[in-house]
């Protein structure tokens, strides 16, 4: 049963992404694209001619997608949380290497920003994992999901996670890595056709990756987890529609200043 879920993970992420586009359209009082729009886009990209800069650049996108898929599989199988965070870091490194491997200035700029984003959110994810360890006594997701009470004991850590969710799903105010009309998608700029599709699908997997961290806060009660995920989804999209993009340096200041302090206060509170 778990294997079917793992195989269907990109489709599930695509549905989340499509639903998000509809939700954002409704928030702006317009009709918006159909729910299955991401899949239409995928099929269309298969039909386009593909322009390749050089082979490693194209293959790094495929590798990024596959490693991310493996990360999501590890989440579904209930493996070690730290292992999952570092696997995800590996996937991001592959993407950043792809960004640096071409001569486009925008690609380099995007890779720089992606690197800064990793620097911003990675410590928070690790502190979240430490928080789960302190309550449940294990880094294993399967053990964490059998415990409970994370929501009561780690409220500030949840807020810290809430602050970094927009970075991971590339939403305002922290969408510096993609920054559409400013650096034209950053790392994505030199991709086209089939290879762009891999980057497009890896975005679906990123949604599953980061929202599964939110889901873990529900613990043994899956209903609480689902409610938390739905609430986070709404808040993130509301904030996305209501704010402008912040500067990269300001993003780091906000994440280290606010999110990191909240997380450390919460960890100290649990320890003492």
């Amino acid at each position: 049963m778990t294997w079917i879920w793992i195989l269907l993970a990109p489709l599930l992420g695509g549905l989340i992404y499509g639903g998000e586009r509809v939700l954002r359209a409704r928030m702006q009082r317009r009709q918006g694209p159909p729910l299955l729009q991401p899949f239409y886009d995928m099929f269309k990209l298969l039909d386009k001619r593909t322009l390749i800069i050089h082979a490693p650049h194209a293959l790094l996108a495929v590798a990024h997608f596959l490693v991310l898929w493996f990360t999501v599989a590890a989440i579904f199988l209930g493996w070690n949380l730290l292992y999952i965070i570092f696997l995800h870091l590996f996937a991001q490194i592959l993407l950043i290497l792809a960004g640096y491997s071409v001569r486009s200035v925008y690609s380099h700029l995007g890779a720089n920003r992606e690197l800064l984003m990793v620097v911003a959110y990675e410590p928070i994810l690790i502190v979240v994992a430490v928080g789960f360890y302190l309550i449940s006594g294990s880094f294993e997701i399967s053990t964490i999901l059998q415990g409970g009470g994370y929501w009561h004991q780690l409220p500030l850590l949840f807020v810290a996670l809430l602050i970094i969710v927009p970075i991971k799903v590339k939403k305002s105010p922290f969408d510096v890595g993609e920054a559409h009309q400013e650096i034209v998608g950053g790392i994505e700029i030199e991709y086209s056709g089939v290879f762009y599709e891999f980057l497009y699908m890896s975005r679906f997997l990123e949604y599953i990756f980061i929202y599964s961290f939110v889901f873990l806060f529900g613990g043994e009660s899956y209903w609480l987890g689902a409610v938390l995920v739905a609430g986070t989804f709404l808040v993130v999209n509301l904030v996305d529609n209501a704010t402008a993009r912040v500067h990269t340096a300001d993003m780091l200041k906000i994440v280290y200043g606010v999110a990191m302090s909240l997380a450390i206060i919460n960890i100290l509170g649990v320890l003492l």
Partner: protein
């Protein structure tokens, strides 16, 4: 493949380029993307990246400054692609026709599939033109389409098309 061809008209991504326009048509294009007219309900995304676009929306008569970039952007869009000329200037030169520093319309440089009239063309006309362009897009093949000027013969490395070498020639040719 036949199966994927039907999805072309469901997700047209547009690239918008201003070839020396007065900004009137550009504002109308942005208005048709904004909530009131909502082009996104057709699956349209304003990508701003030629390599991921299907529809090339051009405004303005082609000024001497912008013609190289126009041809370069056109060659960077992978096939199948459709060009929509928005506004009177883009079709005939409009009020700028015969001026010393403009060309009279973009069809001297690249093949145009749909002309949208008006100065400035209204959002309704632009949406109508885009829907017409989608029919053409669905019927197109994946054969390489060439601009008329500033391009020359197709360049290849080994067996493959070299768009870089073709783009280089755009700057060298002065015709």
């Amino acid at each position: 493949m036949k199966f994927f061809t039907t999805f072309r008209k469901k997700s047209p991504w547009i690239l918008h380029y201003n070839a020396g326009s007065c900004n009137g048509c550009d504002i109308e294009i942005l208005a048709s993307l904004a909530p009131k007219f909502d082009l996104e309900r057709f699956g349209v995304i304003n990508t701003g990246n030629p390599k991921q676009s299907d529809i090339f929306l051009v405004t303005g008569p082609v000024t001497y400054r912008s013609r190289e970039r126009l041809v370069e952007l056109y060659t960077q869009i992978p096939e199948p692609k459709v060009v929509v000329a928005v506004g009177s200037c883009t079709a005939t030169g409009g009020v700028f026709r015969g001026m010393v520093n403009t060309e009279d319309g973009i069809d001297r440089y690249i093949p145009v599939d749909v002309y949208v009239p008006g100065c400035a063309s209204s959002p309704q006309l632009i949406i109508d033109g885009l829907v017409k362009a989608l029919e053409i897009l669905e019927a197109k093949s994946k054969e390489i389409e060439k601009p008329f000027k500033l391009f020359g013969a197709i360049e290849t490395i080994g067996n493959k098309l070299s768009r870089l070498n073709m783009a280089k020639k755009v700057h060298n040719d002065e015709n």
